[in-house]
Symmetry: C2
Subunit: 338 residues, 2 copies
């Protein structure tokens, strides 16, 4: 069983997602089968596009959250399998649409679906997966779970549009940025965790605890992702260092470095991001400035802040293997930067 490592204390063991993986393994096998079956269609292009992304080795953290959060309250039905699959489909649909919106060429070290099958197929297969996700949720028959996931779908899209409207605007504040990632990333983590206690018919406080856990875990996860884009291990994730920079994406390391910079440095950021002059030379200068103002370190500090909130959200719940595994995932998400 995983050992929960306090965030700020000396530790001799790297936090791991393994306890969560082990606890959910049997159910995840069923989720993976359902993913393949529900991504199937007589229209050949649908499984091709869907499987390209589905089989590309994402961690499937979100469906694991749903499974663990149902198991930990003794849920014994079948609904969590379909809800977890729905959550992964919602995520996959978002990625397909994101790649079109961001005009991305690569994801997880592979060409994006839109580079192989075109933007059109990416938009439409995303829509198909979203439709399949809703059908599965309806099958489960919990209006409360439906409400949570349908709301998340609307909020995610709203967050993506918000991101679009702050794009390439260097005056974006940390608060603006948090509103974006709260909607586009954290809302699905929150929903994934909350539907577990919902179908297990727990009380409202427990639902709230899991929702808060998921929301803050999602914030921490996204902030660390933003650090990784400028950090050493990006290649392991199939990303190149500076992808966000080249796409003119404004993330917290950039926001902090801009706001803490001199007038001269701010002018540089405006040229690089707002006017899209994302040459290798400019990336090198960006990395220097991020280093100068501790943009990565302070973004990780923010991630730890949200990690602590996630931890405190779960704290009052009775100890269990599931609780310990979920706690360890917080540290795992943050320690990915090391």
């Amino acid at each position: 069983m995983g050992v929960v490592i306090p965030l700020e204390e000396g530790k001799n063991k790297q936090a791991s997602v393994k306890p969560l993986v082990d606890l959910t393994k049997a159910d995840m096998d069923r989720v993976n089968q359902l993913i393949l079956s529900k991504a199937g269609s007589d229209v050949q292009m649908i499984p091709e596009v869907a499987n390209h992304l589905i089989s590309s080795g994402g961690k499937r953290l979100r469906p694991m959250l749903t499974l663990a959060a149902a198991q930990m309250f003794g849920y014994e039905g079948e609904g969590h399998i379909r809800l977890a699959t729905s959550v992964e489909f919602m995520h996959t649909a978002t990625l397909l649409h994101d790649d079109v919106v961001d005009e991305s060429d690569m994801r997880r070290g592979k060409s994006t679906a839109r580079m192989i099958w075109g933007n059109q197929a990416s938009v439409l297969v995303g829509d198909f997966l979203l439709g399949q996700a809703f059908k599965m949720m309806v099958d489960v028959g919990s209006l409360d779970a439906l409400d949570v996931l349908a709301s998340a779908a609307a909020v995610i899209a709203e967050g993506e549009v918000l991101q679009l409207s702050v794009a390439k605007n260097m005056e974006t504040t940390e608060d603006d940025y948090l509103a974006v990632i709260r909607a586009k990333t954290a809302a699905l983590f929150a929903a994934a965790a909350e539907v577990g206690p919902i179908i297990a018919a727990t009380d409202k406080a427990t639902r709230g605890a899991l929702k808060s856990y998921g929301m803050n875990l999602g914030l921490a996860f996204q902030l660390v992702d933003d650090v990784l884009d400028y950090g050493g291990k990006a290649a392991d994730l199939g990303k190149n260092v500076g992808d966000d920079f080249r796409e003119g994406k404004i993330t917290l390391p950039v926001i902090l470095s801009y706001r803490r910079g001199t007038a001269d440095e701010r002018a540089f950021w405006k040229t690089a991001i707002e006017q899209g002059e994302s040459t290798d030379e400019n990336l090198a200068r960006a990395l220097t400035l991020i280093g100068k103002y501790n943009g990565l370190g302070d973004t990780i500090a923010r991630a730890k802040h949200y990690g602590t909130i996630a931890r405190d959200a779960l704290s009052p719940l009775p100890e269990s293997a599931h609780k310990a595994a979920l706690m360890e995932v917080i540290d795992f998400c943050i320690e990915r930067v090391n």
Copy 2:
């Protein structure tokens, strides 16, 4: 009250949508209010993009079907307003994504959203409206209605992908084409009509009748739309004659003219559609060939065939103003070509 005009008999009065409009007017006012309110967001771009399309003067036939189909079975709740709004949002989301997929410049006589705000906003605002649609459905609380609409969402997307995979392939058969429009157009008409009797808690046979009515009305509607694209009144609809031709879209008039043509004529179609040589000269030749093989007349004949099935689906139901209005809409959809 509208007079129902038999399809094949002498008639002295043009069929009209007015009886349906009159019967649903009070409820449609509420739907229109809800549309404005649910397309609202603090993210300014969302209402801008949504209202651009929403206010562009579509007929709102689909939500009227839902309202009429609930009213005709004495439904007295509030759910039909939200379901009708959901149906319109699903339709609007599809249009936003369609314009991106088809790279369309114009819709209903206005620039498409993607030309004004870009593909990205069109994809994401479509996603937002779809999310809002599902939230409203969940609010209504009928799992059966949710099932019907969620299934329609998946089928619509599947139909769009199917259309993509048969695109620019002149060997597309009439059956292939029917599979596309059954999924991408008729499925939403069917769902819009079926959810009425569902929330009015009618029997299964009545649900089946309204579903079949909607499905076949949708087929007739789409076939007539395809005719209009090559016909005289296209300008009234904000379309230009030959838009489908220029986009390389394969519709029934083209399929019939191709399959009935000489080897020489078939070679022409392949050049024009598969290789995208959609010059004005080629459009003129296409119109000549469609005329030669009665492509428009025979497409209308097919539309009448489905119109008859829609009529027979409703026939066993007790006479009422609503039934008469729904019957008249069949003729209205077909007579648009005159």
